[in-house]
């Protein structure tokens, strides 16, 4: 008997906003903090907490710098992060397929 698709869900990734962050990061070379904040409709504090979790898990890289005098925080997805996102999406799709099939 095959594993239930929920076994493929990761505790770190399986959260709506973290999945959103990883999805946007996977679509780009790098993405800026304020873009994520606006796209995901999150407060700065909330977004920071999610980013810290994802960076600590090795799923994102973070790079701080300046554009002129304005501080900028850029995030990019790691190879592990890309893999984790792909696995999570596959597990979610399998879950939907199992219940609609």
């Amino acid at each position: 008997m095959s594993d239930h698709p929920t076994n493929g869900l990761s505790d770190v990734v399986h959260q709506r906003h973290r999945l959103g962050i990883l999805t946007i990061a996977a679509e780009s070379k790098r993405v800026e903090f304020s873009y994520l904040k606006e796209a995901l409709e999150l407060t700065g504090g909330n977004l920071s907490r999610h980013l810290t979790v994802l960076v600590d898990a090795g799923l994102l890289d973070m790079e701080k710098g300046y554009d002129g005098k304005r501080p900028k925080t850029w995030v990019s997805i790691t190879h592990v992060g890309r893999q984790a996102l792909a696995e999570e999406i596959a597990a979610l799709r399998a879950l939907v397929a199992r219940h609609s099939g």
């Binding site: 709506r16 999805t23 780009s28 800026e32 873009y35 796209a39 900028k72 190879h79 979610l92």
Partner: protein
């Protein structure tokens, strides 16, 4: 289950939005379109009736970028195309970084850059290098790269390697994909160079720009840029392998022996494809 379905739909929307926000191909389309349309300015030609004895048998430092006959300043034409590719590539990279700073999301242009540089090397380095090696290795080699026994095996082997590298890189991500595409672009340029050696139209720069646009379309996941790139590639191959001035002659526009008019007729369709693609991209972005 509707929660999971809704979550997947939300993620799809986020991905589409990020993709639209990072697309910035209108600028390179206008840039290369304008540079292509301006190129005929460099194609001043000798008058074959009064100046024929002045025509030198020299195609300048970039023979791949210059037609073989009657050009007054082949060096100018060669350098124009070399700088168009290198400068256009640099400006495109700058544009994507500049736009990322303004919009907060950046397209990875490493793969198109690597593909363009590899295609440029394929055209500029391979032909002269291989001829030199043959001359050094075989006493009876007559220096002619266009000998079928020499360049047809190269054409088929390079084309096969280009296809294999392209298929391999399609299943990869990151640096391995970039490397695979660069290898594919290099061998595609070598294959085309081996075929194009029978023709001397001198528009290899258009093929390199086509490779850059197709690679950019891949990383941007843009249907519009893909369509524009494919159309442009078709036009680029046509002007390199066929005398486009014949078509214009049949339409009533005779270029005679004026190389500037031949260049206008050859480059006009390619330039128009890019400019129209750029206009459509701007209109879509503003909606």
């Amino acid at each position: 289950m509707s929660d999971t379905t809704a979550l997947l739909a939300d993620l799809r929307k986020l991905r589409t939005r990020a993709r639209m926000d990072r697309q910035a191909h209108a600028f390179p389309l206008f840039l290369f379109g304008a540079l292509i349309l301006l190129a005929p300015v460099c194609y001043a030609s000798y008058d074959p009736w009064t100046e024929l004895e002045l025509v030198p048998n020299d195609r300048g430092p970039f023979p791949q970028f210059t037609p073989g006959i009657l050009l007054k300043y082949p060096e100018l034409v060669g350098w124009y195309w070399a700088l168009t590719i290198v400068g256009g590539l640099w400006l495109t990279g700058w544009w994507y970084r500049h736009r990322a700073r303004r919009h907060g999301v950046e397209t990875d242009t490493r793969m198109p850059t690597a593909a363009t540089v590899a295609a440029l090397l394929g055209f500029l380095v391979w032909g002269p290098l291989f001829s030199t090696l043959l001359e050094a290795g075989f006493d009876d080699f007559d220096g002619s790269y266009s000998t079928p026994a020499v360049n047809l095996p190269i054409l088929f082997a390079a084309a096969a390697l280009a296809v294999a590298a392209g298929l391999w890189s399609g299943r990869r991500t990151g640096w391995s994909r970039t490397a695979g595409v660069a290898v594919a672009a290099f061998f595609a340029a070598v294959a085309f160079g081996a075929l194009g050696v029978y023709f001397s139209h001198g528009y290899a720069a258009l093929v390199i720009i086509a490779a850059a646009l197709l690679a950019l379309a891949w990383v941007e996941r843009s249907a519009l840029l893909t369509v524009t790139g494919v159309l442009f590639t078709g036009v680029a191959l046509l002007v390199n392998l066929y005398n486009v001035e014949n078509v214009f002659y049949r339409l009533g526009w005779d270029s005679g022996s004026d190389q500037q008019v031949v260049a206008v007729q050859s480059l006009l369709p390619a330039g128009i494809v890019l400019v129209v693609g750029g206009v459509v991209a701007v209109v879509r972005q503003r909606r």
